[in-house]
Amino acid sequence: MFYRESGEFKTTYVDDQQIFPIRFDRYSLFVILAFAYLVVPFFINDYWEKSVLIPFLVWSMAALGLNILVGYCGLLSLGTGGFMAVGAYASYKLMTAFPDLNIFFVILLSGGVTAGVGILFGLPSLRIKGFYLAVATLASQFFLVWLFNKVPWFYNYSASGQITAPERTIFGIAVTGANSPSWATYLFCLTLVVLAAYAAKNLTRGRIGRSWMAIRDMDIAAEIIGVPPLRAKLSAFAVSSFYIGMAGAMFFAVYLGAIEVTEAFNIDKSFLVLFMIIIGGLGSIVGSFIGAAFLVLLPVLLKNIMVTGLNWPTDLAQHIIFIVIGGLIIFFLIVEPHGLAQLWRITKEKLRLWPFPH
């Protein structure tokens, strides 16, 4: 009835090319953003912050980044954990070397450092493709983690190799460290993720995004029609690593506050983010969010149902969570190989035609 293009008359090119052409979509997004900004901060508590919302936002950011590389440019990467570690250690070094630098810029600069490292490790992608590239990026995962564990300069020569985020403020309100209020860290991460998602959406709609997709769909054809593979592939690595680096910086500085590289950024993290975008939907911005929600929030939800709600033993609950999540992954991949975002897309198509599907 109300979910369709008909009846909405576009009189300018700007109107015609907006991200959400349907008014209902646009308004629902504004309602969700308004809810996230104006309602959630008043009801958030430590548990919601540290166990639900911040992990969701951080992993969404990482999934966004990897989706640009894998989903839009078709370059398979298993180095996400290593790149997150670069972001985390860059933010630590920046925070301790320049105590007066605003944390917002620290996070952005950490993303920048990671982008540089990403370009370096993206160089092999010019020669190798597919699974072989996955193995090459796997090397970066192991090398970077080893490097941060081996060279004491990265952790400022602390006895245990742990890095701890000092307290940093924005407008006088702490957003890192143990004394930061929940709403402040939440709004900080939310703002970063909203800005990042908006930028990513527009990047993928523009010239750069189209060149990535051309490379993904058939690189030789793309090269023949004039897409430079060097620039397209390396820019995909740079942008993707920038996002993943910011995610790593947020993971360390805002979410956990203290980490140790071998535990926080091991190979499991690379797989986790890859599964997020495969389940959420490759080549889809909203898919990154859905995938992150699925793999980060579902275990917490199941744990709360089984342990807090039903009082089951914790180990039994944990084993059932493994089974349920694994089963659901297989189920969704069989039912919808293009990810949960595709389900959402199909729903929208059906809504447009409703109530006259033929």
């Binding site: 629902s28 997004l29 969700i32 430590d46 548990y47 919601w48 912050e49 540290k50 166990s51 639900v52 992990p55 564990n149 006895a159 245990s160 190799g161 742990q162 701890t164 000092p166 307290e167 460290g177 143990a178 004394n179 956990l256 506050g257 203290a258 980490i259 140790e260 071998t262 535990e263 926080a264 091991n266 909203v286 969010f289 859905i290 929600a293 699925f294 929030l297 579902l298 917490v300 939800l301 744990k303 709360n304 149902i305 342990v307 807090t308 709600g309 033993p313 914790t314 180990d315 609950a317 944990q318 084993h319 949960l340 959402w344 729903t347």
Partner: protein, 431 residues
């Protein structure tokens, strides 16, 4: 976006169900791990911790007449899950956290300090938290890793007739914050005693140690020290047996010395040593009560097969120290119900005498403990235990001896001062 909203709404519903718990009891959260690569070590500890509190509830009706509630939360030895567990249990009136993971302890040090909830990292965690002036909410009595390192070196000294000049020591360690802890102390001690130290890191989880042991076979260090956990211990002991390294020259920290670690190597593990901060076996009167009130009544946390193992004993010891601190806090504040900050006062005034240990049913189980405002690291005493593969038992072969305080104390002061400076903490005055 629909999915996201649905998930959020569902979580909200469940959370609302979960947070309506009564708090007229003493709450002890147990951040355990019964799954994951470290589960074989996590299970007996968690069982011992839970069973001791069950015993108090069943036999004495709790602590000072106030029933105890243990909330268990599965961390899988994973830091993020540990944070989730902390946040989900701290609102329930949790009195003290014992995460049994160095990584999670480092997480909780700033968080728990800000929330005013004490953390007891018993023989693990951040060693310099022993300085109560800088870490008022963190406790690690009865001993720290640096004490352990020093006690091991002392034992080696006595084996070698007091001279280690020109000897070679190797440290096989878990390549993490936990495993790196003793390095600084061992380096300081090497300056003092003149031995040469080789560092051999092993990456998580530690199944692959061929190259480390090849190096040991080639260099033949006089003694091998180990800071391992989980499957790493079993593999190391097996590898040592494979290269026929003399087992009585192989000494582990207290976390590398459970039955799980030595049994797989069978006779090869005979003579393996480790430092310990409490007694071994089930030859203590308290086990009669545990069997009567807990295991035979079907109330044990596990299947009862872990009773008397090293890690079960340790979990029980941790629970006993927590219960004694709670009783002390009840006395200080003249109240039955406790808040976390009252609990902290109890922990800081904790005193465990030999008489009290005998009363509890654990005569001579551990050293006497006297926690003070400035010293949260306890007496720092340890004994050496040795494995007898034919009898399949551990036995203590030395008395509880003290660490080299001359070396350890300045290190603690230095590291805690660095922490205080980094986090702009003004050390409190302990009078």
């Amino acid at each position: 976006m629909n999915h996201k909203r649905m998930t959020t709404a569902a979580i909200a519903a469940v959370m609302a169900l979960g947070t309506s718990a009564a708090s007229a009891e003493l709450v002890f959260p147990s951040l355990s791990y019964r799954t994951g690569p470290y589960a074989p070590n996590g299970i007996p500890f968690a069982d011992g911790y839970a069973d001791y509190f069950t015993l108090l509830n069943e036999r004495d009706g709790g602590i000072g007449g106030e029933p105890v509630r243990v909330i268990e939360c599965e961390t899988g030895y994973n830091t993020e899950k540990g944070v989730e567990c902390y946040e989900s249990t701290k609102g329930e009136g949790s009195l003290v956290y014992q995460p049994l993971s160095t990584g999670i302890t480092y997480q909780l040090i700033p968080k728990a300090t800000a929330d005013n909830i004490p953390v007891h990292s018993m023989g693990y965690g951040r060693t310099s938290a022993a300085n109560g002036k800088v870490f008022p909410w963190i406790f690690n009595y009865p001993g720290t890793y640096w004490d352990a390192a020093s006690i091991i070196v002392k034992h080696i000294l006595s084996e070698e007739g007091g001279d280690l000049g020109g000897k070679k020591l190797a440290l096989v360690y878990h390549n993490s914050a936990y495993g790196k802890e003793p390095i600084r102390t061992l380096e300081e001690l090497s300056k003092k005693h003149g031995y040469e130290l080789t560092l051999l890191p092993v990456d998580h989880p530690g199944q692959e140690q061929k190259s480390q042991w090849l190096q040991i076979r080639r260099e033949r260090p006089d003694y091998v020290l180990m800071w391992g956990w989980g499957v790493m211990n079993q593999v190391a002991i097996q590898e040592a047996a494979n290269i026929r390294y003399p087992m009585d020259h192989f000494v582990g920290v207290w976390w590398s010395a459970s039955e799980n670690d030595v049994l797989p190597a069978d006779d090869g593990a005979d003579g393996y040593k480790a430092v310990a901060f409490h007694g071994v076996g089930s030859d203590y009167p308290i086990y009669d009560d545990l069997r009567k009130y807990v295991v035979d009544a079907g109330k044990a946390a596990g299947d009862g097969s872990n009773l008397g193992t090293v890690l079960y004993n340790r979990g029980m010891y941790a629970a006993m120290l927590a219960a004694e601190a709670a009783a002390t806090a009840q006395k200080i504040h003249g109240t039955k119900t406790l808040t976390p900050s009252q609990m902290r006062d109890g922990m800081e005034a904790l005193q465990i005498t030999n008489d009290r240990l005998a009363e509890i049913g654990l005569p001579n189980f551990g050293p006497q403990i006297q926690v003070t405002c400035a010293n949260h690291g306890g007496p720092g005493l340890g004994a050496i235990q040795q494995w007898d593969a034919s009898a399949k038992t551990w036995s203590l072969i030395t008395d509880f001896v003290s660490a080299d305080r001359e070396v350890v104390d300045p290190l603690i002061a230095e590291d805690s001062e660095a922490y205080a400076q980094e986090n702009s903490i003004t050390p409190r005055d302990c009078g």
